[in-house]
Symmetry: C2
Subunit: 170 residues, 2 copies
DNA sequence: AAAGAATAATTGACACTTGAAGTAGTTGGC
DNA sequence: GCCAACTACTTCAAGTGTCAATTATTCTTT
């Protein structure tokens, strides 16, 4: 167990080496746990509202949201990538939505391995109804926070996202 | 209330009074999506590492983490609350861990409805091994970020958590 | 053109998650 | 004491998620 991590970061100069290491280690974990906790709360809130008000689920909503901003349709693999889930998963969710007539698989004429998934007219209608309520929920959850703080938070998370991409791709 | 249908999209910057309000509304949604994206990436990273290095899962790890800081054991309902998941879920995860001898259900002598769930000695050993690696993963993911920014982020998320608690409890 | 590698999507096995319904134990008012 | 309401936990069905294996198609190489 390495005790010497002093090379890690610059820290306030008034603490001794041991405390510095200790604090620095736990700082990241604490931050992560807090982030997770916030996200989970919001996610649960949204999930419950989607269920109660529209009898649908977050993944379905997510998939439809991706399609809404891609009117030309998306390949299954593109959906998988954008939703950050595996391909097998996308198959299942698409099956469900297609069965309800909200989404359609169209064969790509240039490559018969590919499906282009699109929102149906019905799907567009339903999504728009959901999206505008969804926006209100989110605005409500964040309304206790000033615009300035929201911007700060957005920016910090942007940085984080950059750094993560580097660290986790090997 | 805006009849605007493009609620989830990022909008190109037209700059007039109307659009500014519009953007202001979208600020919260954008923030939320970014937060979700960061959390998902980290969570996926941790999940994969837990699977690859310890052949276990995040929920199992989570449950054991809760027990580790409660040596007197926890009731199923307490676990459910702390992990922010439903009771039925905790039953399943506990079943699995108990079957592997990492966790044990002890009957509470004062109330025969409740179980006190505890880590076994074997469970403690395994958890400590996992926890110290887990900490390194997290530190690694966040190491691109300065201590100052980590502190800022932690504080902003703390505020957010407060505000959310108020908004989402009715 | 045929063999082999690569890509797109699906399938199946298993784990997690919720919500609703069910079982067992406890509590409080009569 | 008794019974209704409440609490703690489990069970079940359906949806979500992963990974590994499979099928179908396209690309590459010869």
């Amino acid at each position: 167990m390495p005790k010497d991590k002093s090379s890690l970061k610059l820290v306030e100069p008034h603490v001794d080496a041991e405390t510095r290491v200790h604090d620095d280690h736990h700082l990241s974990v604490r931050l992560w746990l807090r982030m997770l906790s916030c996200t989970n709360r919001i996610e649960n809130f949204v999930r419950q509202n989607l269920q109660a008000n529209f009898d649908t689920t977050l993944p379905r909503f997510d998939l439809m949201a991706q399609l809404e901003r891609a009117p030309q349709g998306l390949k299954m693999s593109e959906l998988s990538q954008r939703m950050m889930v595996t391909g097998g998963n996308v198959t299942g969710i698409t099956d469900g939505l297609e069965k309800e007539g909200l989404v359609i698989r169209e064969v790509d004429p240039t490559d018969r391995r590919v499906f282009r998934v699109k929102l149906t007219v019905e799907g567009q209608k339903q999504f728009r109804r959901m999206a505008s309520e969804h926006e209100q929920w989110i605005i409500g959850l964040f309304e206790g926070m000033s615009v300035k703080h929201k911007n700060q938070l957005t920016e910090l998370l942007g940085d984080l996202k950059q750094h993560i991409s580097q660290s986790s791709e090997e």
